[in-house]
Symmetry: C2
Subunit: 211 residues, 2 copies
């Protein structure tokens, strides 16, 4: 049995859950209580020495890091959300990496300072918010153009690339992201969030926390 460790407010840790649902991988989910620092406790460090969510345990294999877990789940399942063809796998990989570095990281900057910091009593860094918004404005046009084709970042079917984008954009409302310039993306996100693999995880980002 596969066990996936996550926290609902950590959008990188939601990615493996979405992938498992989309690929039809049976799994247990364990929520790690970041508020009580459970991720730094001995029991969790035995699972993931990096002390972060997400993590995955499958038999004697235990790994951390979201893209690595997503790729493993997809390959192991044989689902067509990834590809056993090296060239197609490379095209999907480059999109996942682009999303993680240039979209998710900048959504994270804004989300941390606008939503998380006030919640945990830290000072919000306005210059970090401005930097995140500047980089998003520069990088989201690539996504808008790609989705304007047939509604997928790669090919004509749902892949890890699309799921990575949905996970990256989870904090859209809590981070108060202004997506007015990206109508295709905005409509696409609404559609994606109605799909079974999304709804099997949650109805919307933050629902587990009563948001």
């Amino acid at each position: 049995m596969t066990t996936l460790y996550f926290h609902p407010i950590s959008n990188p840790s939601l990615y493996p859950l979405f992938v498992a649902e989309a690929a039809g991988v049976k799994h247990d989910r364990k929520m790690v209580n970041l508020q009580t620092q459970e991720q730094k406790g001995d029991a969790y460090l035995a699972v993931n020495p990096f002390g972060r969510v997400p993590a995955m345990v499958d038999g004697d294999l235990a790994i951390g890091e979201s893209s690595a877990i997503g790729r493993y789940l997809a390959r192991q399942s044989g689902s067509d959300i990834y590809s056993e063809d090296l060239r197609e796998a490379a095209l999907i990989d480059q999109w996942v990496e682009f999303i993680v570095h240039h979209i998710r990281a900048n959504v994270g900057r804004v989300q941390f300072n606008r939503f998380i910091a006030p919640m945990i009593g830290e000072t919000s860094d306005e210059s970090s918010i401005a930097l995140g918004e500047k980089f998003l404005a520069a990088n989201l046009p690539h996504v808008e153009i790609a989705l304007s084709g047939d509604g997928h970042l790669h090919g004509d079917r749902l892949t890890l690339a699309d799921i990575a984008l949905v996970a990256a954009m989870e904090p859209q409302f809590t981070a108060k992201l202004d997506l007015e310039a990206f109508p295709v993306l905005t409509a696409w996100l609404e559609t994606m969030r109605k799909q079974d693999w999304y709804q099997s995880v949650h109805t919307h980002f933050g629902s587990e926390m009563g948001l």
Copy 2:
């Protein structure tokens, strides 16, 4: 023939060069002139619409993003720096991702503000340097412990994980990183930089720029 596009001061773009050398992939190298914004010109955008280095062209396949290129080169070559075993591939993937997110990104923060910004006439952000150094101090111990075994991040041989770490640490001297607390890593980097796959790219970081 495989063509790899890079710039010698972009350490993410050196990673595919190191991987190609370690995996024995014959390739052409094309330096992209970032000083003249060649990466935003039409010729380069036809190769990589993201407008960044690195990029790779292999026949009709063109991709960007360093980890995606590295994985493709390793799989295509059949080299044992990666693995066709799904479980072992996942273990190597998690290390590469850990290095890229938690080491390379923070080396990049320090390198940008201490070395690049003064060079291009921008103001250095001291708080960004402090943040990068804080995160490096928190994450480098994982690397120090892993290398203290048999000198590899995964298994008993050179893998993509080790090469990712070498590439991440390229700006060690230009970013003036203080590695005094990490003697195993410091000695390991010296050893790695003497290997053929490193020396086939350059004698040291910045040598192409006369550093």
